[in-house]
Amino acid sequence: MITGYFNYWVVIILMMMGFYIVISDSNLIKKIIGLNIFQTSVFILFISMSKVKGGTAPILIAGADVYSNPLPHVLILTAIVVGVSTSALGLAIIAKIHRAYGTVDETIIHEQDDLQDEN
């Protein structure tokens, strides 16, 4: 029971800690890092599902007949590279925000916006 579900449970803990960073921290860069942690935990969930006990990596060789499932590997392989591209886009937006507001802290940005609305 414990070893059968340990992977999934740790994945959920990691996912929730990433989610916690995203919703509780006001620094935008730390939010992006939280999203990365969330994303990587989803990758671990997918790869955990592809594992077959006693299997080996899905590269066909003589003498092995049990392989892990290659399909989730393909999905996650491309998702990792797409993930870094989207993070880079997020970081570019943060750099732009820093130029406009002089800060990357969400709370201060909201305060500045409220001040502008009043004027």
């Binding site: 860069i29 942690i37 899905p58």
Partner: protein, 182 residues
């Protein structure tokens, strides 16, 4: 307990500890480097779970490129983090409820490493048994990526292309313009 299980459990524990430390950190520089450590540990976990191609990508992308991009952004924005004034109670309540619901959901899943799980019965056996005849290359991940699911991969490449266009539109021209002014 066999060696694979021990490696698996210790890597997962180290991953969780890394994130706990990362949450409590205040310096963005240290946070960026810890997220690199997190990526590297998960790459090790992918090797333990037979996903060598994924581990390779995660080590190069997550631990390499992402960390560099984070560091460059921190060089733009400054490394110290202001102390958050957010209330802690609501986020903790949200993640506890969501996490409990998700853990309840996992109880219906097939246990880790089960060869009879539904995921292993549909198309995967076809790829594993037929690809050496149909495609003729030993790495099944490459044959699925580039041939069976070539259309999906084209979509992924276009997404990467679009993200790059987005970054260049946001920052590329601005950098050039400010360069001309000076």
């Amino acid at each position: 307990m066999d060696i694979e299980t021990i490696v698996n459990i210790s890597l997962l524990t180290m991953l969780a500890l890394t994130v706990v430390v990362l949450i409590r950190m205040k310096s963005l520089l240290a946070i960026a480097l810890s997220s690199g450590v997190y990526s590297f540990l998960s790459a090790g976990l992918f090797v333990a779970m037979d996903a060598v191609d994924v581990a390779f990508t995660e080590a190069a992308v997550g631990a390499g490129i992402t960390t560099i991009l984070l560091l460059v952004t921190i060089a733009i924005t400054g490394r110290e983090q202001t102390v958050s004034k957010h209330k802690r109670f609501l986020p903790i309540a949200v993640i506890t409820i969501t996490g409990a619901a998700l853990i309840y959901g996992t109880l219906d899943m097939p246990p880790y490493g089960d060869a009879k799980a539904p995921i292993h019965t549909h198309v995967a056996p076809h790829y594993l048994t037929q690809s050496s005849e149909e495609i003729g290359i030993p790495n099944v991940v490459t044959s699925v990526l580039a041939s069976y699911r070539g259309y999906d991969t084209l979509g992924e490449v276009v997404v990467i292309f679009t993200a790059a266009v987005g970054v260049l539109l946001l920052l590329g021209n601005a950098a050039k313009r400010s360069g001309r002014k000076q």
